[in-house]
């Protein structure tokens, strides 16, 4: 009996990577996130779904404190990463963001060469001892971003000269190059064709072996394909959170069901 409880607890505490309690976000007067409680597991893919403007991106940005850069934004409540409060004044948001990487909703490559875009993070964090190592990191990241074959002959060309979908994959490569523990992806496949989408999903699957991945998506099929857990947001509330299979086959809340079947959106 005792043993059982112990193992159960061990599994639980190892598994929860991010724990959020009573999170509120305000943009000036707008109350964008209301009372969100959620536990995001380690080595899992969690999908955030919900209609446009419901606060998915906003909540995602709370996890790596990107909301700090928005003057009007105010975050309340607790978010713990590995049991540590990330909004504690002692926490350095810069270090936090090195651990919690992000792919933004709109691709935002730097006005630098493709190589420098990917090498940016590793250089800042001193991940490579020499040029050869850096080359290796860049190549690996670009391969994982499913864009290596397209850019391997033009690494010195500007990243901004790529197509929209290529830019998005470049940004994915840039984010994985720093080897974050958590990867937040805000609609990473919105500009990708089915082949590139499949490649990115493969990457997500691979990342899941070691990291925790949170992905915002508007595609139910994608959420169902890649995620183990799904959270449904509506008007700033986290309406339902659970196993992906359960959410899609047997939602408890009527709003979730309406959204999944296409009645609200």
């Amino acid at each position: 009996m005792n043993d059982m409880r112990l193992t159960e607890r061990a599994v639980d505490s190892k598994d929860v990577k991010i724990a959020a309690r009573k999170v509120q976000v305000f943009y000036g007067e707008t109350h964008a996130i209301k009372d969100v409680d959620v536990d995001i597991d380690d080595k899992t893919v969690t999908a955030f779904i919900g209609p446009s403007g419901c606060g998915k991106s906003t909540f995602l940005r709370c996890i790596n404190r990107m909301n700090d850069t928005i003057d009007v934004a105010r975050v309340e409540g607790d978010i713990h990463l590995d049991g540590e409060d990330i909004y504690n004044p002692k926490v350095d948001p810069v270090q936090l963001r090195a651990k919690v990487g992000m792919v933004f909703q709109k691709p935002n490559p730097f006005p630098k060469s493709i190589y420098d875009n990917v090498a940016y993070g590793p250089k800042i964090h001193g991940l490579a001892k020499n040029k050869a190592e850096l080359d290796e990191i860049v190549e690996r990241a670009l391969r994982r971003g499913a864009i290596w074959d397209e850019v391997k002959d033009r690494l010195q060309e500007p990243g901004t000269g790529l197509s929209g979908g290529q830019q998005q994959r470049l940004c994915i490569a840039r984010a994985v190059a720093t080897e974050p523990e958590v990867l937040l992806m805000d609609e990473p496949c919105s500009a990708l064709d089915p082949i590139a989408t499949a490649q990115v999903e493969e990457l997500i699957d691979e990342l899941k072996q070691n990291y925790s991945v949170v992905i915002v998506t508007h595609s139910m099929q994608q959420a169902a394909r890649v995620s183990q857990k799904t959270a449904f947001f509506h008007l700033g509330y986290l309406v339902e959170y659970g196993e992906t299979g359960q959410i899609f086959t047997n939602p408890k809340d009527s709003r979730t069901e309406s959204y999944i079947t296409g009645r609200i959106g």
Binding site: L96, A98, M102, F104, F110, G121, I124
Partner: protein, 493 residues
Amino acid sequence: MPTLWLVLIILALAAVGYVVGRQRALASSGGNAKLLHSLPSYYGANVSFAVIIPAIGLLILWLLVQPAWIQNRVADMIPEGAIPEGATLGLVMSDVERVATGLNLAVEQGAMSEEDASSIRTEFTDVRQRLGEVGVALGSNVDAPVLRAAQRYREMSATGNTWMTVAVLAAALFGFVSSLAVTKAGFRARNTVERVILIMLMVAASIAVLTTLGIVLSMLFETRNFFQQYPWTSFFFGLEWAPDFRGNSNLSIIPLLWGTLYISFIALLVAVPIGLFAAIYMSEYAGPRVRSVAKPLIEILAGIPTIVYGLFALITVGPLLRDYFAMPMGLGESASSVATAGVVMGIMLIPFVSSLSDDIINAVPQAMRDGSFGLGATHSETIRQVVVPAALPGIVGAILLAASRAIGETMIVVLGAGAAAAQFDRGLGELVNPFEAMTTVTVKIVSQLTGDTDFAAPETLVAFALGLTLFVITLGLNVLALYIVRKYREQYE
């Protein structure tokens, strides 16, 4: 009819044309605007343009050509003998014009009847006195040929003006009628208006370009005169600036150019780091409250007249640099120095660099910064590696603008660095000593053109050669900047 009235009539006609054109277009489609090719207002605008453009164009052309043409005709009336010793036909002709204006004034004020004005003769009337009474002072007595020429001048102007009025009004009416005639539902008024607007914009652009060209050409002309009297090799490669109005001057640009570049260099050394850092602080770190106070304060620096900066250099900075730096270090004892002018000029240039760079840094999209922050970069890493590189073309532009200001600045140099040209024969030590007095090209241009000048002497004409050289240098600087920016863009955008 006075020209002003003529213009007003044309404008009124244009306004009427707008209304009528609009109505006619609507009427042609039976009141249904959807059947028209363009919006009704385009038909109105089309008629207005057809009234204004030819009429005003003709008016301007006429006003430009008529005086020259009349002068030409009247000049024939002045016999060789009537031109006094030492004067030219041009001087006599300006006398003729003055007398003609005087007669006009006299008639206007009622001091002379119209008939008197055209019939008075020098033999019977003291024209000089009569005109003096109405406020037109003449330098000498009026000769008979001059008076007759002036009277002829008046007559011709009067007829010319009448014809001008007739012609311009005819043009306006023709435009009115002919454009109304084509105003029908199928007429593409929108495209016509579009084309007219395009042409107007092109005219504006070409005026700007032609003015530049005109400036260069006028300088070129005088510069050629200069080089006919002074060897260009000595001008460009000589090492001494020693003008002497009695002749035998040494007029080399090198000592002046050295002063210009040295002072500008020090000015940029002051302005670029301070301006750039201020801009970065303002746009990246300062809160909205600090920003709203500090930014206008910095920009006030740009509004201070340069002569005030000059006084600041003369009274404060010069003695300060002399007493605390130059004298203790044994580098000189003059308050006028390259360093004084350079530092003060640098202060003047800070707002140029900072406010332009500030705008440019603000224009870098937030998404760039977010991308960098999201990878765990600090604020200053983000600025150094993402924001500044992205803004670099604009920053280079701002610095070059500051550089061309520095090269062209005169007042601060006169008061801060003196008016003595660098002396190459005293050795390198003095040339590079920042506490030595020196002067620049622009200061010498001013001093060669002030006072009693003889526009045939090389000592005066050298000013044009200096100006043209300076122009070429700044042009080269701009081309270089464009090249750098373009090269950089290819790499990064």
